[in-house]
Every structure is written in C-alpha cells, then in structure tokens.
C-alpha cells in the first residue's frame, strides 16, 4: 500500500467479520472500509453492536471470524506488537477512564513516556500543547476527580492525542455528560475533525453527525443496516428500521 496519504487510502478494512459473546451473535457479517481522513458516525439503538464494533478495531474485543486490517496489518491473537497498533489507534470512552491517581498532565504523558519512550520534558511540552487545544491547560496539575465531566472528557481526548494516533475512536463520548457540557466536548471533536483526523464516532448526537460526518452508519441487531452521507441519510433513509430509529430520536 502506498505510503503517500492520499484521500482514498484505506486505513481500516473489515471483511466478513463476526463476533459472538458466548451464544449471542453480537456482530454479523460486518464489512467496512474507512479511508484516510474519513469521519464516520455510527448510530443505532442500544444493544445494536456499535460499541462492540469500534472496540474490535483496537482489539479491546476479539472477533471470531473474518478479518480486520489496520494500515495493512491484520489483527490476530498471535500479533506480537499489538501495543504498537493500539498506540496508533486512540480511543475515548463514555466513562472517560482517566487514571484517578495521576494528575491531568501525568495522565497525558504516561503512554508517550512508557510506550513511545519519549523524554519526560518533551512529553510534558507536547501534553501542554494538546491540553491547550482542548482548552484546559490551566487544569494540568489537578487530579481528574477535581474536574467536571466535560473537562474530564476533554482531558481524555488530549490524553489520546498525546500518542499522536492516526485513527481516533469515540465510544459515546458525550453520553455520560450533562447537557451544558456536551457542547464543549463536541466543539473539541469538531476542531479535531477539521485537522483531518480519521475518526469513528459512536454517538447519538445527530447534530454532530450532520455537521461533521462524511458518512453515517446505522446499525441494528449486530448488522450494518444502512450507510450514506449525512444529508441523504437524514432526509431520505431507505430502510424501515432506519426510519423508525430516526423518528424516535429526532421527534422531540
């Protein structure tokens, strides 16, 4: 695969992927290609497998059939350098998952220092840059427990960015937040999208999808039901389940 980052370069390629939790068939025959710089929003009712899908992409969940390729490397259990793949794929969680025993700055420098082997000074300078980008450099020496939910989630985004990932996964990043904090997090995500980052976002924020996404994917029952550009997706949904879902979340 050509190294030059053309608009069309495929960075994530999922083919015929299946996953089960015990007897429960949670992901069914997933096929998905993500191009460099593409912004994808994944939506669907709860239990539809959308979180599981993006968690498979950095192997927090293990798929049983089919293949997932990240930058041409297939994810498998005998992969020696899974850590390296993971450090290229950043992830932001619904519940932030910041490390409560470390300060904001230490949260951000931990992985660069230990995984990227970056000198501490350099890591701290970079962390401060990203904290400034998510607009909370003044909180660097506080502990996560002293911040609001929105601030914590922005720290989590900065922490992921400090690994300088090529792909960012967002797993319902605003679902645990109070309404007035959702905007501050979405604003940061929109700015990130503007930098050309490849993003896969599981969210119910349809305004965000409309504004930012190149493609919206609708999942239900472990399958990709429909995918389209946001305009077509919201105005002319084809599938009945998509229509029902959209009417349920947009009707109030």
């Amino acid at each position: 695969m050509a190294k030059s980052a053309k608009q069309s370069e495929i960075v994530v390629k999922i083919e015929d992927m299946h996953k089960w939790y015990g007897q429960f068939h949670v992901l069914k025959d997933i096929n998905l290609e993500v191009a460099q710089g593409e912004r994808i929003v994944i939506c669907g009712p709860s239990g539809s497998g959308k979180s599981t899908l993006i968690r498979c992409i950095n192997r927090l969940e293990v798929h049983q059939e089919g293949s997932i390729n990240i930058y041409g490397t297939e994810l498998s259990s005998d992969l020696k350098n899974l850590e390296l793949i993971r450090s290229d794929v950043g992830m932001v969680f619904q519940s932030f998952n910041l490390f409560p025993h470390l300060t904001v700055l230490e949260n951000c420098t931990l992985a660069p220092i230990w995984v990227r082997k970056m000198p501490k000074r350099e890591a701290e300078e970079m962390a401060m840059e990203y904290l400034a980008r998510v607009k909370i450099p003044e909180q660097a020496n506080k502990y996560p427990g002293q911040l609001s939910g929105g601030q914590q989630q922005r720290v989590a985004i900065a922490r992921s960015l400090c690994m300088q990932p090529k792909i960012m996964l967002f797993d319902e990043p605003t679902s645990a937040l109070d309404p007035e904090m959702i905007k501050e997090v979405l604003d940061v995500m929109i700015e990130l999208a503007d930098t050309g980052m490849t993003m896969l976002v599981v969210t119910h924020e349809m305004g965000f999808a409309n504004k930012v996404a190149d493609r919206v994917i609708f999942m239900d029952g472990g399958e990709i039901i429909e995918q389209n550009d946001p305009k077509t997706f919201f105005t002319k949904p084809k599938n009945d389940r998509t229509k029902l879902f959209l009417s349920q979340i947009l009707d109030h």
Partner: protein, 370 residues
Amino acid sequence: MADKQTYAPGSHPDLPPPPGTIGIVGWLRTNLFSSVNNTILSLITIYFLYWLIQSVAGWFVLDAVVDASSRAECREIDSGACWAVITKRIGQFVYGFYPHAERWRPNVAFVLLFVAVAPLLYPKTPMRRQLLWFSAAYPFVAYFLICGGILGLPEVGTNTFGGFMLTMIVGVTGISASLPLGIALSLGRQSRLLSVRVISIAFIEFMRGVPLITLLFVASTMLNYFLPPGTTFNLLLRVLIMVTFFASAYIAEVIRGGIQAIPKGQYEAADAMGLNYWQTTRLVTLPQALKISIPGIVNTFIGLYKDTTLVVVIGLLDPLGIGRAALADAKWNGLSTETYLFVALFFFVSCFAMSRYSLWLENRLSTEHK
C-alpha cells in the same frame, strides 16, 4: 444592624457566619452542649473521666514504686503499682540475653532503622534518592550489626535475642518481606498462566488455612525431617520465613480485593493506549489497588506484629516470655498486672503509630476534591 441590608440581585457578597458557630465556642456548642440531653451526657462523661483518671493515676503514678529489689520491698514503700519488676529487668525486656557489652549494636541498628524507613514512608524526606540506597542496604547492615562476625564485631548467637528487640526483628522483617511477596502472590493468583495461578492459590490457601502456631511448630521441629541431614537452619530464620509466608498470604488477599475494586475501564484505557501488562500493573493497577488496600494491609501488619508473641511457644523469649520469666522469680511473684500492662503498652504504642501512619497515608494519597 437595625435595618435590614439589601443587595441588588446577583450582587450579594459573602458574609461572615454568625458568632458562636465557629472556633472553640462553636465546637463546644455543636459537639458537647447542643441540646439538654447532650449537655447531661457530656457532664456525666466529664465527671466519669475525672473519677477514672483520679483513681487510676494514683495506682499508676502517684503511689507507684519504681525502685525496689523485691515485691515485698515495694509493698513496704507504697500501695501502688510496683514498676520495679520492670526497671530491674529492663535490659532483658529490651534485649533478651544479648551480651551487655554489645548492646550498643542493636541500638545503632534501631536508630538506623528510622533512617532507612524514612525515605520509604515520607516522600518529602531530604536527600530521598541517596537514602533509598541505604534503605536497600539496610537489611544487610542490620544483620551484620546485630549478628556480628565481620569487621571485628564479635559474633552473637540468635539464641540470645529476646524482648522487644526480638519483636522488632520478627515484626519489621515480616512486614517488609511480606508486602512484596504478597503483591507477587496477588498478581500470581490472577495470572493468565495456569501454573502460576495454581501455585499462588495453593500457597495462599495453605498458609491461610493453617494456624500460625502450627507453622511455628513446623518451623521448629518438622523442617529437620524434610531437609537433608546435617543442614542446620537457624531457628530464628525459620520463624522469620514462616511469619513472612503467613502474613504474605493475607496481604495477597487484601491486595486482590483492591485490584478487583478497580473499574474495568482503567484496564481498557491502559490497553487502548498501548501499555503492556507489566506497565499497566506498575503504573495503573498497583498504585490504585495498594491505595485502596491500605487499611487492610495495615490491619494485617498490626496482626502480624502482635502475633510475634506466639514465638514464645517454641522457646523464643519475646517480651511476654521475658515477662513470664520475671514472674517466675520468687522475688517478683504476683506482679502480673504490672508486667503485662507494660508489655501491652509497648505493643499499643507501636500498633497505634502504624495505625496513625496509615491514616496519614490515606489522606495524602486521596486525590478527590483536595
């Protein structure tokens, strides 16, 4: 104050609280005299404390005898406690039968203990980095100081060790060796490698399932059957090993509880950032698990420290053993109250210090709403 001050909406300043709600007066009001019932209870308690201190202080201090050569002589002098049984034998209580001329050596080791422990317990110790090297060397320094045999220090047999010195040796060694071993066992118990897991579980369950006294008996007699003939294995060393193993099993379970209290999201975040197992354990899991486990760990340490008195059953003379020996002396016969109170006081001071330290540590490590 006559007419009510009004402010425009949104411009109300912070005012001082009403008088009598803060400071000593405020504290007394809210805690001791907040209601009629509370006031009555407070007064009764104060009177009771006064009566208790007055009557006990007489026996303990005012009427007590510190210097006498026998119990009968004590009784002739005054009616209170006869502390002479302690003062006359204080050397034994502290050192056991360690030779008089060499007693400066355990003293030096004791003082150095604080130097070695300070950088571990207080991160703000001056020159912490350099001192940590000394902490690492301390076990050897203490060993050669107390046992001798090099640098012209006469060798002293461990069979002469006794009293508080013995308690400190067994307690400090047990505590400092059982923590790392306990951490290793708790990680081993959750290992993905079946053999490591089985060995850890078997060890923990065996050590926890057997009374310490049994292990001490095994240490003093049975080991000879298992070891090749001719191997001599110091009795004190065996006791140290058994006490350490015993405590580490408990520590392992306490830490396992701490590890299991860490939300799954913490591991997922560490995984997602590319940290490997050992990095996650060292940087994410253990700092949090140990912090959660502090009360349980210190609880186990205090238990271990007091359990060192059990070594008396295999013939080592800890403070209780020395006390018994003193009571067996015809001159001091019948002074068990004084003797046991003294030993109890020693243990209480040590254990209370550990307990306060753990509280301090918990506060220092608390990162919520500081």
